[in-house]
Assembly symmetry: C2
Homo-oligomer: 313 residues x 2
C-alpha cells in the first residue's frame, strides 16, 4: 500500500515527506542507504508521544486510584497524605506538592513518591496486569471528555503500521512503567508485551508448593528516562534503533542513539502546539526542541502535520 493511504491522518507536509523519504531510502534495494529488515528498528516514547500526558500522566491517575483503594480499607491511612488527596481526588494537594518541589521543598513530594513506590508491594505481576487493565477499560480523561483508551494519537498509530508494513519492528521505549503499559499496548498500539520497554519495579520470586510467582518490591529497579533509555533499548533489543520518536528532554539520549557517524537515523519530536485539539506546552521539552532545530531532527507539529489527533468517539 502506498504511504499516503497508510498515513491518512497526516497532512501532506514536509514532515510527512521527511518520514516517507527516510523510509523509502532504507527500503529500496538499490539505495545507498538500504538496510535489511533486521536493522529496521523503531522505538517510540509513550507519554506525550503515542498518547496524551496532560494534565497528569495517565499512569499517575491509575496510581492515585490504587492509593485510594489501599486507603479504602483503613480509616487511619485515609487521613494521611497522599492517601487523603487520592481518596478525595484532591488535585490541589498534589499540585501544591509539585509547586513546593519547584521552590525547593520536597517534603510533600517525598511523601507522595514513597507511597507510589509502595503502592503495589507484594502484588503479583498477574494481579497487577488485571487491575491496570480493568481500571483502564473505564477510566476517563479529566478534560478531553473521552476514555483514556481513546487518548492515543491516531497519526502515531498509523505511523507504527506504516513502519511495520515496511518491515520495521516497532517498540515502545518509555519512562512509564513497563508492566502498566503491557496490558493495553497490544490493544491500543498493536505492540505486544515483549516489545514494551519501560521503567520497572523490582521483582521478587515467591516459591511454594503451587509453583513460582513474581511479586513487586516496593523499590524501582530502574527509571527508564534520559541516559537510561539507550541502556534499556540495548538490553532488550541488542540493536541500535534506526528511528526514534519522543517529545521531551528525557528522550534526547534515545533520539541521539538512533544515529551514528556512518548511518543516519530518523529522529522525530512531537510538538504539543495544539490547544484546540489536545494541549499546548513546551515545558520539559525546551532542550529537545533546541537540539531538534540545531541538529535537523524532524519536529512533528500536532497543529500543522496532523489532520486529526484522536479517534472519533
Amino acid at each position: 500500500m502506498v504511504a499516503e493511504a497508510l498515513l491518512a491522518s497526516w497532512r501532506d507536509t514536509p514532515t510527512r515527506a521527511a518520514i516517507v523519504g527516510f523510509v523509502d531510502a532504507v527500503v529500496a534495494k538499490d539505495s545507498a542507504r538500504f538496510l535489511p529488515p533486521a536493522d529496521r528498528v523503531a522505538v517510540f516514547d509513550n507519554d506525550g508521544t503515542l498518547w496524551c500526558e496532560k494534565p497528569i500522566p495517565i499512569q499517575l491517575d491509575f496510581t492515585l486510584f490504587r492509593l485510594a483503594e489501599i486507603a479504602a480499607a483503613d480509616e487511619a491511612v485515609r487521613q494521611q497524605q497522599p492517601y487523603k488527596a487520592a481518596t478525595e481526588r484532591d488535585y490541589h494537594w498534589l499540585g501544591a506538592a509539585m509547586v513546593k518541589h519547584y521552590h525547593g521543598d520536597d517534603a510533600d513530594l517525598g511523601v507522595l513518591l514513597k507511597a507510589v513506590e509502595r503502592a503495589f508491594e507484594g502484588m503479583t505481576v498477574d494481579a497487577f496486569a488485571t487491575e491496570a487493565g480493568e481500571w483502564l477499560r473505564t477510566a476517563v480523561h479529566p478534560q478531553l471528555s473521552r476514555p483514556y483508551l481513546s487518548c492515543a494519537f491516531v497519526p502515531m498509530i498509523e505511523l507504527l503500521r506504516y513502519l511495520e508494513a515496511n518491515d520495521f519492528t516497532t517498540y515502545i521505549a518509555s519512562g512509564g512503567d513497563r508492566d502498566f503499559m503491557r496490558p493495553f499496548a497490544e490493544q491500543l498500539y498493536g505492540i505486544p508485551p515483549e516489545r514494551v520497554i519501560g521503567s520497572a519495579l523490582g521483582l521478587d520470586l515467591r516459591t511454594d508448593d503451587d509453583g513460582v510467582d513474581l511479586l513487586y518490591k516496593s523499590k524501582m529497579e530502574f527509571f527508564d528516562d534520559g541516559p537510561q533509555k539507550p541502556v534499556r533499548i540495548w538490553s532488550r533489543i541488542g540493536r541500535r534503533p534506526l528511528i526514534a520518536g519522543g517529545n521531551s528532554n528525557g528522550d534526547i539520549p534515545m533520539l541521539r542513539f538512533a544515529q551514528t557517524t556512518t548511518r543516519p537515523g530518523l529522529r522525530l519530536l512531537v510538538l504539543h502546539d495544539d490547544a484546540d485539539r489536545e494541549f499546548e506546552y513546551v515545558t520539559g521539552a525546551e532542550d529537545a526542541l533546541t537540539r531538534a532545530r540545531d541538529m535537523d531532527w524532524t519536529v512533528v507539529s500536532m497543529a500543522t502535520d496532523w489532520a486529526r489527533v484522536f479517534t472519533e468517539i
Copy 2:
C-alpha cells in the same frame, strides 16, 4: 511437516513422544489445552542445554583469551594472576582456584572474578560484539576436536525449529552473558538478539559530539541464574513460558515458572549421560534431577534420546 521429520536426530522414545504430545495438545484447535500462538513461549538455557559446557564454559574460555589480550600489552600485568594463567593457558592454576574454593579458601577465586568483571570495562557494546564474534569464529573445543561453533546440540536446534513451526516463539534464557551470546545465537540457533536473555554487565552512556555509545562497566547488573531467571524472563517477554528447557539446578525456578496450577507446562531437563559422544556428569544438576523424577518433568537423555549429538565436521 510432521514432527518426525523436523526432529530427525531424536530417536523414537517416550521423551520425543512427550514433547510431540504436549505440542500437539497445545496446537490442536479442538483440544482442551489449546493456546493461541501469543501464549506459545519456549525458553531454553544455553550452557549445557543448547551447547556443550564442559570442561569449562565456552564463555570462560573467551574471557581467559581477553585476559591474555590485556596482559599482552603489559609485562607487569602478565606476571600477576589470573593474567599469568590466562597467558600461559595454565588450567592448573584455574582448577586449583576452584579446589581451594571448595575447601573454603576464596582468595584465588576472588582474584579471578575481579579480573573477569573488569575484563571489558570501558569497551563499547559494538566492539565487544565484534571481539566475541571474531574469537568464536576460530576457537576450538579443547577436547572434542571441533570448533566451538560446532558444539551446539543438533537435536536441540531441531527442537527450536519444530517449536517455531508450531507457532512458538523461542528464547534463550541463560546464566551466560547476554551480549556474549548475541553475536552467535542467530547464526547457530536462529535466535535473534532481541530473543537472547542472559546475565548482563552494567552499561554507561558516553555522550560526545559524534553521538552516544554504550560502554561496559566493571560491575555486573545481574546474574541471570536461579531465582533471577523468572524475573529476567518476565522483564523481557512479559509472559510466562509454556515450555522451559534446562540442565542444572540453576534452571529449577525457570522450569517451575513454566507451569501454573491451572495450566500445564513442559519442563525439559537435558541429562549429560553420554561420555562417548559428549560428557557424563550430574554435578550441579542433582536437585534438578530429583525434582524431575518427583514432579514428572521430561528428562532428555543424550545417550538414549538422541540419534546424534553434533553436526558432522
